[in-house]
């Protein structure tokens, strides 16, 4: 009780002191122009210091939020970097084969997307390269960042392809560089996802693994990145399917590469 009384007395003393000092300062401000300027400057400095302190405290408590934002950005940049690294590996591998004089299994033809559909279960893509440019039906449509589809028919100057966002298109894919090979197709749910089918139940697939083209088919070149694995789920109590987040952004797609395998007819004939 006595302590509380002392506290209030101290508080009252401090309040009276401040009031008297402010009163004296106010009189001084009116009495002298020099002191007026000096007191104004001094009070501005005090206010600036106080506001700066308040701002620092506020910034300190918002650091967690800013950290979360930065961590999110960091993650996005990391993913972007990984994607470019993988692209670089692919480009280097292709250019190395070229420089060593190896004849690639595929002929690559750059093309531009003329039209494309993404709104149905049977989406198509039309490219500005056709028969005269060396495009043949059954050629793969790829980008350095993923698989786009397959050429279905060709005109003199244009070609019509089935997009990967078409449930009739299936790509032979491999999880990781040396991992499991399984067919990949679109399940029609999202334009940025596809699924890997027929994964045996006893094999577990880690989330975040990169999915590549396997190269075992005659259509798609090997080691073209397709996407990354997401969750897996059991189908019919027999096999797993794995969701794959696609690298290709179909909504923003403009330039593609047509990979045409000149030996495809021979290979298909042999497998019949």
């Amino acid at each position: 009780m006595a302590q509380r009384g002392t506290f209030y007395a101290g508080l009252a003393t401090a309040a009276v002191f401040i009031v008297l000092e402010i009163a004296a300062m106010s009189m001084l401000k009116r009495a002298s122009a020099l002191q007026d300027i000096w007191i104004n400057r001094f009070s501005h400095n005090v206010m600036a210091w106080t506001w700066g302190g308040v701002s620092n405290i506020r910034n300190y408590f918002s650091l967690k939020q800013q950290n979360d934002v930065l961590a999110g950005r960091n993650y996005e940049l990391f993913k972007e970097l990984q994607r470019y690294k993988e692209m670089e590996k692919t480009v280097i591998a292709i250019s190395r084969l070229d420089s060593l004089g190896f004849r690639s299994r595929f002929n690559y033809i750059p093309a531009e997307v003329t039209a494309m559909g993404t709104n149905s279960r049977h989406n198509y893509i039309i490219l500005n390269k056709g028969r005269e440019d060396g495009v043949a039906p059954g050629s793969a449509i790829i980008t350095p960042t993923g698989v786009v589809g397959i050429i279905y028919s060709v005109d003199k100057h244009y070609s019509y392809g089935l997009s990967l966002l078409n449930d009739k298109v299936s790509v032979s894919a491999r999880i990781g560089r040396e991992g499991l090979v399984a067919p990949l197709s679109w399940d029609g749910r999202r334009t940025d996802q596809a699924v890997l089918h027929d994964i045996p139940m006893h094999l577990s697939v880690a989330e975040g693994d990169t999915v590549w083209t396997s190269g075992v088919s005659s259509v798609y070149p090997a080691d073209i990145p397709i996407g990354t694995t997401m969750g897996s789920r059991l189908i019919d109590g027999a096999v797993n399917i794995v969701d794959v987040k696609l690298f290709v952004d179909f909504a923003a797609l403009r330039y593609v590469i047509i990979a045409e395998n000149p030996d495809r007819a021979i290979l298909e004939e042999m497998t019949r």
Binding site: A12, F17, L20, E21, A23, A24, L28, R30, I37, W38
Partner: protein, 167 residues
């Protein structure tokens, strides 16, 4: 009777200060003030708030009747009143307050009274010189002014204590 005598002498010394301010400007480096001593020698049982009000009124009166700037003396004198109790208990101990003893040289000895006066004057002139110079005077000039004023006003304050508290 004692209280009436104290108030009378207090007012006379305040008038003396006004006269000094108005007619005895010795140097721009030297200020003479009996006001810190007057505040120190206020009755021991006076509360800090009352002492601050007395200090403010004293400063106001001195400034009003002097050619100085209104508010300057009050600004410097109120902090002296604020720290008075702490200073007195630190220098003289807590006993005088309990027994309502006043500060006199005869009771506490010359060194303690000089020390208390020195601290009061130092506080007063620190604020006074700082506010008066308003950042326009070089630091060492202000420091010299403060030092000379403290060194001169402390003995003057000692004289005031003999007049105000003769016993």
């Amino acid at each position: 009777m004692k209280r009436g005598h104290f108030i009378l002498v207090y007012i006379i010394l305040m008038v003396a200060q006004i006269i000094v301010n108005n007619y005895f400007g010795l140097s721009r480096y030297l200020l003479i003030s009996v006001l810190p001593a007057l505040i120190l020698l206020l009755p021991r049982n006076m509360s800090t708030i009352l002492a601050m009000l007395v200090a403010f009124a004293t400063g106001f009166a001195v400034d009003f009747f002097s050619t100085g700037m209104l508010g300057l003396t009050s600004v410097a004198l109120v902090p002296v009143a604020l720290g008075r109790r702490l200073l007195v208990s630190s220098v003289f101990g807590d006993e005088p307050a309990d027994r309502d003893e006043q500060i006199t040289i005869a009771r506490f000895g010359l060194p303690k009274v000089v020390l208390a006066l020195l601290l009061c004057c130092a506080t007063f002139f620190l604020v006074f010189v700082w506010v008066d110079s308003a950042g326009t005077v070089p630091f060492w000039t202000a420091a010299l002014r403060w030092l000379l004023s403290v060194l001169v006003s402390t003995p003057v304050g000692l004289l005031v204590s003999r007049i105000l508290r003769p016993a």
